[in-house]
């Protein structure tokens, strides 16, 4: 079952699956989004994971033909906003468990004395699973997607 898992500072977790969302038993925006230390996104055989603490977001990209009620899932992503006092190395994980292959994606983020550049503060570090390319990507965005 495809799902995200929110890990909180106090050790508890909150899981939102596609099925739960469909039946309005879970919601990213309406569930707790503070005091998070890590978010994982599981989709088919993929795992995307970003460590915190910080402000996280999750979004999907879809495409729909004009006239068609249904949409096709194009990409799933998790995002974390970069904070001035971050000491993270931005080596996040995009993993394909079925093959056991683990891909560490190191973002091209220059840091000064271990802290992010001022220009990066407030931007978002994004881990994205692209369905059409069957690949994971890491990039920075100047806005929440």
């Amino acid at each position: 079952m495809n799902r995200w898992v929110k890990h909180f500072l106090d050790g508890h977790i909150y899981v939102g699956s596609d099925r739960d969302v469909l039946y309005q038993k879970a919601s990213w925006t309406r569930s707790q989004n503070t005091n998070l230390v890590k978010v994982e996104l599981f989709h088919d055989n993929w795992l995307l994971s970003i460590a915190g603490p910080g402000y996280f977001w999750q979004s999907d990209t879809y495409e729909a033909l004009v006239g068609s009620r249904d949409s096709q899932l194009v990409a799933r992503r998790i995002e974390r906003q970069i904070e001035a006092d971050d000491r993270l190395d931005y080596k996040e994980v995009i993993q394909s468990p079925i093959s056991g292959e683990r891909s560490f994606c190191e973002a091209r983020l220059t840091k000064t004395n271990g802290f992010p550049l001022e220009s990066h503060v407030g931007q978002w570090i994004v881990l994205e699973l692209n369905m059409q390319k069957s690949r994971g990507f890491m990039y920075f965005s100047n806005k929440r997607l």
Binding site: W28, T29, D60, Y62, A64, L65, G67, R69, D70, S71
Partner: protein, 186 residues
């Protein structure tokens, strides 16, 4: 989570019968503009929403190939000569009832108002892929640019039409997909 979209020819109306048929047109003719309303059943707004066209998907029933059709449509929009100009056009200013001055022309393939695209001819690099999608705007009835609000009948609409180049030499049926790309957070 997948949400369901409803495309209709009236606000709150039943879903369109697809595919959209722009009619049989002579060289140099412009189809009647079709106004299409869109809404969705998500509990949150959809964001980063915009339109583009691409090669027809599914079983092809045109006169050439899906790849040739989309290449030709985009070349009509790219045309450097007025006699070769045409293609698929969008008008987005529903609040102003899609004024004639905001439909694109050969001389003005993209029409801007207040810095936003209110009229456009799809062509290479403009509305031809998700990267270059034409964003939805408040003039369509959206409560914010790039977003389509939640709600059963949000009154968001656009108009579209086909322009056939005056100098077109090949008759036949052209097919393409018009796509709405968007983001959604549950």
């Amino acid at each position: 989570m997948t949400i369901l979209l409803t495309w209709s020819d009236a606000n709150g109306g039943a879903n369109l019968t697809e595919p959209k048929d722009h009619g049989s047109l002579a060289n140099g003719a412009t189809s009647s503009a079709s106004t299409i309303f869109v809404r969705h059943d998500g509990t949150n707004p959809i964001t980063e929403a915009g339109f583009f066209i691409r090669a027809a998907s599914g079983t092809y029933s045109g006169s050439a190939t899906a790849a040739e059709d989309i290449a030709e449509l985009l070349s009509w929009g790219d045309a450097a000569l007025t006699g070769d100009f045409g293609g698929f056009q969008l008008a987005l200013d529903a609040l102003a009832t899609f004024p004639a001055a905001e439909w694109p022309t050969f001389a003005s393939k993209t029409v801007l108002s207040g810095g936003k695209i209110v009229g456009v001819t799809c062509r290479t690099g403009v509305g031809d892929c998700t990267t270059y999608k034409v964003p939805v705007i408040t003039e369509m009835g959206c409560t914010a640019d790039n977003e389509i609000q939640a709600g059963g009948s949000p009154n968001v609409s656009f108009a579209c039409r086909m322009v056939i180049p005056a100098g077109e030499g090949v008759t036949g049926i052209r097919l393409f997909d018009q796509v709405l790309a968007y983001n959604y957070t549950s």
